[in-house]
Symmetry: D3
Subunit: 69 residues, 6 copies
């Protein structure tokens, strides 16, 4: 499957923190950069996400903001 989202970065899952309905998944994309994702527990279970696993973070361009000093 190829998806329209402009931003797709491969990395390694650092940790998965499960809440009551929502999980936080942190992915190391290299160069000391960590991306945090907030997704459903159902998605974590279905994809079998766990620390050490390979994963791609996917972000739609319209959800990216730009900041300057």
């Amino acid at each position: 499957m190829r998806i329209s989202a402009r931003n797709q970065i491969v990395g390694t899952i650092v940790d998965v923190t499960k809440g009551a309905t929502t999980s936080h998944v942190r992915v190391d994309i290299g160069g000391g950069k960590i991306i945090t994702s907030s997704i459903t527990n159902a998605a974590v279970d279905e994809l079998g996400l766990k620390a050490g696993g390979k994963a791609t973070v996917v972000i739609k361009a319209s959800d990216v903001m730009i900041a300057v000093d």
Copy 2:
């Protein structure tokens, strides 16, 4: 200003493409990775964004998805 968004990555603007109301800004965050952002032309003008400038991409955790092979 410090913001709640979990993902803030410093980089360099590669290019700015202006449309009628919406611009696309691409930011090189290092390691061969480019992040594409879709923002208003007004924001581009106000922040003075242009190729070569330093910029931080800002992404809320709830806008990040995870994919696996």
Copy 3:
């Protein structure tokens, strides 16, 4: 690729309307229902999207609201 987004519905592209930087893609998901998507022109080109093509609409659960009468 499998993605965490909870909503993935297969359909047929009805039409693609290109703007200066942003395109609107409408997908018929059956039962008389049309889903409208707003994505970058770059994504339309890269995926080769055009009327009549098969496509899957992908929507993160946190982007879905609920309304009642």
Copy 4:
């Protein structure tokens, strides 16, 4: 009230799963398709959402991605 969101699909609530602050509401939109929504517990209470109730899923076009095989 009429809203700008391009995607408004009527269905029937399948179930409501409440977490600590966030609920997941699943809506059957017909044709065997289920849409999952992640909203606040406060919204669930205020709208009186429960299994079997009629509900409309509302999705802004800029939150819809397109995937192809």
Copy 5:
């Protein structure tokens, strides 16, 4: 129609700027505060949005960030 989005603020449309596919609508919510919305041209046409008209801005809680100095 009542919607799950936690943030619904009534105001008056200041101006509507149409692009090729995307419009920007600015709404005065009182107290000198202007909210900018980016929606499809189709929505602007369908709802008949124009300067001086009454309108409600609608924002899902998961799309709101918090910043501090």
Copy 6:
């Protein structure tokens, strides 16, 4: 830091409700208007958000919808 998000409104935090992974922060922006934000617990802790504190709500224009009667 200046950010591209078109909507930045200063207010006072009314309350912070922490869930397992996700918090709801309500901000009084004056004129009897309250904005609700759903962010990670980690962001609440890092920014030291608590009732009575000054805070700015930040909302990207593409996340704002318009409704009319």
